[in-house]
């Protein structure tokens, strides 16, 4: 599922998407995947997304592309396997060394458990 999510973000933003950290200074999307629960039928996870851009306006535009590619109004999501997707929390900061703006948000997702 996370691979499909990453591919969707890549396709929507046309940017590199990295796990954990960006290897160089560039406009990109970085994520951390945190499994939260799994009862054998339903699993939930949090994907912490960090958009790295050179201005806040650019970062907001990238965030908008990500959400438009993933979220659906009402039940479900635009990803086939994700039965529920919500955004919670977030923030932004300016990184002075690299002169980049970082925009954070969390995707709370519900999927069917992979347990067979």
């Amino acid at each position: 599922m996370i691979l499909e999510l990453v591919k969707t973000i890549k396709d929507a933003t046309k940017l590199n998407v990295y796990a954990f950290a960006a290897p160089r200074v560039e406009q990109c999307v970085v994520y951390n995947y945190t499994p939260l629960s799994d009862n054998g039928a339903k699993a939930t996870a949090r994907v912490e997304v960090r958009v790295i851009a050179f201005t806040l306006a650019e970062a907001l535009e990238i965030k908008s592309k990500v959400l438009n590619a993933l979220m659906a109004a009402g039940d479900g999501s635009k990803l086939k396997q994700v039965t529920k997707l919500e955004v919670s929390g977030g923030g932004s900061l300016e990184e002075l060394t690299s002169k980049t703006t970082h925009l954070f948000f969390n995707l709370n997702i519900t999927i069917k458990s992979e347990v067979e």
Binding site: A41, G74, D75, G76, T110, K112, S113
Partner: protein, 174 residues
């Protein structure tokens, strides 16, 4: 491996006026009949009323179904007046290029609607729930600054064939 599937997730809701017979899947499950987005999933409730023949010793000898109440509920997130019309009893809807109007309150015939909910399993196979019914609980239209408007739709099923069947649940196997 356990028999059957774990079902998780919502689906698509289609509503159209009932014309006397349930059309084919391809005819019914089209964009024009699809309610845009639903929220909170959907539920089908089957409540049979049973009459028991009990003798003087308190033993149950036979049970009969005297009636069955079948209701379908869902929350409608994206709607227009044409959608609301399906939830009214005897409402009249009219539209011009510039204006849509729904009038509610006058008495009149109650339209029957064909309501179909389609859940797609992760195998790609579909479970379809189909009823013919009428809106049974009206609706509440709220305009709330804190929450999106979700209209609770409730349809009570009625017999749609000579056998008296009220609901059809189909699961694709192949």
């Amino acid at each position: 491996m356990a028999k059957g599937n774990i079902v998780l997730g919502s689906g698509d809701l289609y509503i159209t006026q009932f014309e006397g017979a349930i059309p084919t899947h391809d005819t019914l499950e089209v964009e024009a009949n699809r309610i845009g987005s639903i929220k909170g999933g959907a539920s089908l409730s089957v409540s049979p009323e049973v009459y028991e023949v009990i003798d003087d010793k308190g033993m149950c000898l036979k049970r009969f179904i005297t009636s069955q109440e079948i209701t379908f509920k869902s929350g409608i997130l994206t709607w227009d007046l044409e959608t609301l019309k399906t939830l009214t009893l005897g409402g009249t809807y009219s539209a011009t290029a510039d204006l849509a109007t729904l009038k509610i309150g006058a008495s009149g015939a109650i339209a029957q609607y064909l309501v179909r909910f389609v859940h797609t399993l992760d195998t790609g196979k579909k479970i379809r729930v189909t009823i013919v019914g009428t809106a049974s609980n009206g609706f509440e239209l709220s305009f709330n600054p804190d929450e999106e408007t979700v209209i609770d739709a409730e349809f009570k099923a009625m017999a749609h064939d000579i056998e008296g069947n009220q609901v059809v649940i189909e699961q694709e196997l192949a």
